[in-house]
């Protein structure tokens, strides 16, 4: 049974937390530091072939024919694959399967996959690609989302119910928005836009497939979603899922960029089955840029009404979302673009009208803060402007609109714990806001913004009533506890988190825990590392499983000592008798006693969300068992001669519930904040006039070096959540959101310009400064 019971947010014994909340090492830290950790491309198998992908040089074309005969004839080529051999479509959202591993009918962006070759080495595979002859009928490419909105032909995806280029449309209204116009003390209406950015994890995508002689297939892949890849492989390969094993080795970063099933996974699997040999495909950095699934560019129109005292009375949003060439998570993105804005402020009336369109560009998807970073930017800038017009301090207006804890948003989302007010206090204090905001010399400024994010949602991408997260625990006579979890550690430290929780429950040191993760043969299902769900869901499952064993161990020891169970304390690998007898044993001895009494020791734990969300179509999308809250204050310097914005420092206060390991939480806050800051001033996933990525490399896509990252100061706020694992919530995505508007608002404080269109290039800043000068 999926455990929906509450584990409570307190320490399991009477001794307080011994592991949780401490600055413990990560379970894989030294393995990574010493080069011992194995990532997908580190896997070398005997007889392994190397595969390469042939990609479309056209943004939109019909594939008329693919002739691979010359490639097949090349010495060293072992297998060639074309789209017709993998005709079944897939997509991470089961309602919108519109991707083929290799083109079957059309190519939809420059870089779309057409054919693949497996050869004895990469050089030979590359040579063979040149020998494949593809005949294309070139179609008009649609690059502008505005054009896509009004241009039904050519349809980028044909054969859908909709005969146009609209991927998804959501229009929801809560309350009566238009009625608030009359009598509003202030109505502010502006356009905003968010450009295209990408994840750029340091590890490029890689997959290795091995056919097993017993008819099974193993796939190692740099994925954040082992379980969904498992399902998709089974469907596309038409192979019983029980014959497929998917393993995620150590992962070199994801940020949402590895949370779709990708073509290379199907291609290496199919080539392995076809050739009977292991096959690896490692994408070049350029190919990673084409795979993309980055942040959706959005054109946003917001109209907010408020009272004189700053109280928001309504928010009206209209968003155009550039989806790129495929659906990916687009259905969810479209909902998230509206659903996740209704906190930390109370919106009494709210409407959003979001349309996602297809364009002939690399597909957009979920990047850290999926779907909600863009609206958050727009709204927080608008709120800042309202504060400014009304003469209210920007922090104060945010306090006045605070939605509170244990409440419900206008769109029916349940808010439990909420530490947003403390987040505001923290950044106000840390930035010396009162003394400095509005008072710094020209060119320097402070800005603030707030946000909220989900800790997973109750919407599994395929509807089912099974647990969202499961773990299995095994106790060895040596004293080692092995935890099997389907959760994907993508660098965020989820395996460490699991080890801490199990150690806490069983009174062990974390070094007594071995975590085996993301292996579909060995581990119970977890849905994957997305939507900031892992700590909350896998964490609760881990406590659930460990608590069952804890009970058994205590019972066995109590029976042995002939004391009450409450007199048995498990702590730091020792079992202590709290009764008068005052004696102890090692945890290993305790395990042996328990095994004698209960037979072989093991347990399972699971988590599923309670029923959540509004009672309307889409009302469960974005409904989370707990929301995290963040406030950022940013300090910038604007060089009025060069237009360059230097983000000097960002203070980030994040309410993560209980911080299970403050070092790791800080790392998530700082990493998110850095990534957000980079989206403002540096990064641009820019396509040129041909629809070709203008610089698909880590030279031209400018992610910050150590000399570009702002100084970061993370403040952890712990509003202990009643349902989180020991009260924890998410920390991996929330702290990105308000970085961006905080910087925008700081620029206003510094030089008086309101920038509403990202990215804030020096050229844009100079232009705005000139316009301001002309106005004055």
């Amino acid at each position: 049974m999926a455990a929906r019971d509450q584990h409570g947010s307190e320490a399991p014994g009477d001794q307080g937390f011994r592991v949780v909340g401490k600055e413990n090492r990560k379970v894989d830290g030294l393995a990574k530091a010493t080069g011992e950790a194995i990532y997908t491309d580190d896997i070398m198998l005997p007889g392994m072939l190397h595969a390469k992908m042939l990609r479309s040089p056209h943004a939109h074309a019909r594939v008329l024919s693919v002739d691979t005969s010359k490639a097949e004839a090349l010495e060293g080529v072992v297998g060639v694959l074309v789209g017709a051999e993998l005709p079944i479509r897939y997509g991470v959202i089961p309602w919108t399967p519109d991707e083929n591993a290799l083109a079957t009918d059309k190519v939809r962006f420059i870089g779309d996959e057409v054919a693949a070759v497996a050869a004895v080495d990469e050089d030979t595979a590359l040579e063979a690609l040149d020998l494949i002859e593809v005949e294309y009928e070139i179609l008009e490419a649609i690059l502008d989302p505005q054009k896509a909105l009004v241009t039904p032909e050519p349809a980028i995806h044909e054969g859908r119910k909709r005969r146009d280029n609209i991927s998804k449309h959501v229009d929801l209204e809560f309350g009566d928005v238009d009625a608030q116009l009359e009598g509003a003390d202030i109505v502010l209406e502006e356009d905003y836009s968010f450009h295209s950015t990408t994840h750029a994890p340091m590890e490029p995508h890689c997959a290795v497939a091995q056919p097993n002689s017993n008819g099974r297939l193993t796939l190692w892949s740099s994925t954040q979603i082992t379980h969904y890849v498992h399902r998709a492989l089974s469907r596309v390969l038409e192979l019983d899922p029980a014959r497929i094993r998917v393993i995620q080795p150590c992962l070199g970063g994801g940020f949402g960029g590895k949370s779709d099933p990708f073509s290379l996974e199907f291609v290496v699997a199919k080539l392995a089955l076809k050739t009977g040999r292991p096959v690896k495909m490692l994408w070049t950095r350029e190919e990673v840029f084409y795979a993309h699934r980055g942040r959706h560019p959005m054109q946003m129109h917001y109209r907010t009404t408020a009272k004189k005292d700053g109280t928001i009375t309504s928010v009206d949003a209209k968003l155009l979302i550039d989806g790129g060439s495929y659906s990916s998570f687009g259905l969810v993105t479209t909902y998230y673009s509206g659903q996740l804005l209704t906190g930390p402020y109370n919106f009494p009336n709210y409407r959003f009208d979001s349309t996602r369109v297809f364009t002939n560009k690399p597909p957009n998807g979920p990047k850290r803060g999926h779907g909600s970073v863009q609206p958050r930017f727009a709204f927080e800038v608008q709120l800042d402007e309202i504060a400014n017009r009304l003469g209210i301090d920007p922090i104060e207006i945010r306090r006045r609109n605070f939605i509170g804890a244990d409440t419900e948003t206008v769109n029916g989302q349940r808010i439990s714990s909420n530490g947003f007010m403390q987040c505001l206090d923290e950044v106000e204090d840390a930035s010396d806001w009162k003394a400095r905001h509005g008072k710094l010399p020209h060119g320097r400024g402070l800005g603030v913004a707030g946000s909220m994010y989900i800790s997973g949602t109750n919407y599994p991408v395929y509807p089912n009533k099974m647990p969202q997260a499961g773990v299995q625990l095994k106790i060895d006579r040596s004293g080692l506890v092995t935890v099997f979890t389907g959760g994907n550690d993508i660098g965020q430290g989820s395996n460490s988190m699991v080890a801490y929780l199990v150690a806490e429950e069983l009174g062990l040191l974390p070094t007594s825990i071995h975590v085996v993760s993301a292996d579909t043969d060995l581990c119970p299902v977890d849905l994957g590392a997305y939507s900031s769900r892992v700590t909350f869901m896998v964490g609760n499952a881990a406590i659930d499983g460990a608590r069952k064993l804890r009970k058994q161990i205590i019972e066995a020891v109590a029976k042995h000592w002939e004391v009450e169970a409450r007199d048995v304390r498990l702590m730091d690998g020792t079992v202590i008798d709290l009764s008068e007898a005052a004696r102890s044993m090692t945890h290993v001895e305790a395990f042996h006693l328990a095994e004698e009494l209960f037979d072989t020791l093991g347990s399972t734990g699971a988590y599923n969300t309670p029923e959540l969300g509004g009672d309307y179509r889409g009302g469960t999308i974005g409904a989370s068992p707990a929301y995290s809250f963040t406030a950022h204050a940013a300090e910038v310097e604007v060089d009025t001669e060069t237009g360059r914005i230097t983000v000097l420092k960002v203070w980030a206060a994040h309410d993560c519930g209980r911080a299970l390991n403050p070092i790791i939480v800080r790392g998530q806050i700082e990493g998110s904040t850095y990534m957000g800051a980079a989206e403002v001033v540096l990064e641009n996933h820019d396509l040129n006039r041909f629809g070709l990525h203008s610089g698909p490399s880590l030279l031209d896509y400018r992610i910050p070096t150590s000399l570009d990252a702002p100084d970061l100061e993370a403040r952890i706020v712990e509003s202990i959540d009643p349902e989180g694992p020991y009260g924890a919530k998410e920390a991996g995505e929330g702290p990105l959101h308000s970085t961006i508007p905080a910087i925008a608002n700081a620029v206003f404080d510094a030089v008086g310009i309101r920038l509403r269109h990202l990215p804030f290039t020096p050229a844009k800043v100079l232009k705005a400064l000139r316009e301001l000068e002309e106005q004055n």
Binding site: D123, L282, L698
Partner: protein, 161 residues
């Protein structure tokens, strides 16, 4: 094919590989030292950083055929060298990175740690600006760099648990 005679982590390794292969490919795919990572293909990210005679160098832009006279240190070489010098546990820089949470996905860290190692060998008490300068050819996408700086400072202090 050419037989390369490389000095890797104190060993002399003879290995046959195609003549146009980079040091990174030979290390990873022929010698099996996969700790050096490949992130960008062409010298933009620093994940493949190794030390050539103690100097941080990009293995992805070095031909194996041009480094036969240099002493090559990869990330795998640090811990054994530390032990050979009578140390315990991991190398102090590796250890500090672990303690400070400087390792998230870990993919940039072999290169980052080697850059830090070279800095500390030259300058045992670097200022924060010197640390930033020295690491500015190693891109990290996870940390925002703060915990990496803390790790370098901790390693410089020579503290170890």
């Amino acid at each position: 094919m050419r037989v390369f005679r490389l000095q890797v982590n104190g060993d002399t390794v003879e290995v046959a590989a195609p003549e146009h292969w980079t040091l990174l490919e030979v290390l990873r795919y022929k010698i099996g030292l996969t700790g050096s990572k490949q992130g960008c293909d062409k010298g933009d990210c620093g994940a493949c950083t190794v030390l050539l005679d103690g100097v941080p160098t990009l293995a992805c832009l070095s031909l194996a055929a041009t480094v036969e006279t240099s002493a090559i240190t990869t990330i795998e070489g640090l811990l054994p060298a530390h032990r050979a010098n009578g140390g315990e546990g991991a190398d102090p820089v590796q250890d500090a990175f672990d303690r400070c949470g400087a390792l998230q996905c870990g993919f940039c860290q072999p290169g980052m740690i080697l850059s830090a190692k070279a800095l500390l060998a030259k300058n045992p008490n670097p200022t924060s600006q010197e640390i930033k300068q020295s690491l500015s050819g190693n891109l990290c996408r996870c940390t925002g760099y703060t915990q990496i700086y803390e790790a370098v400072v901790l390693a410089a202090k020579g503290e170890q648990v």
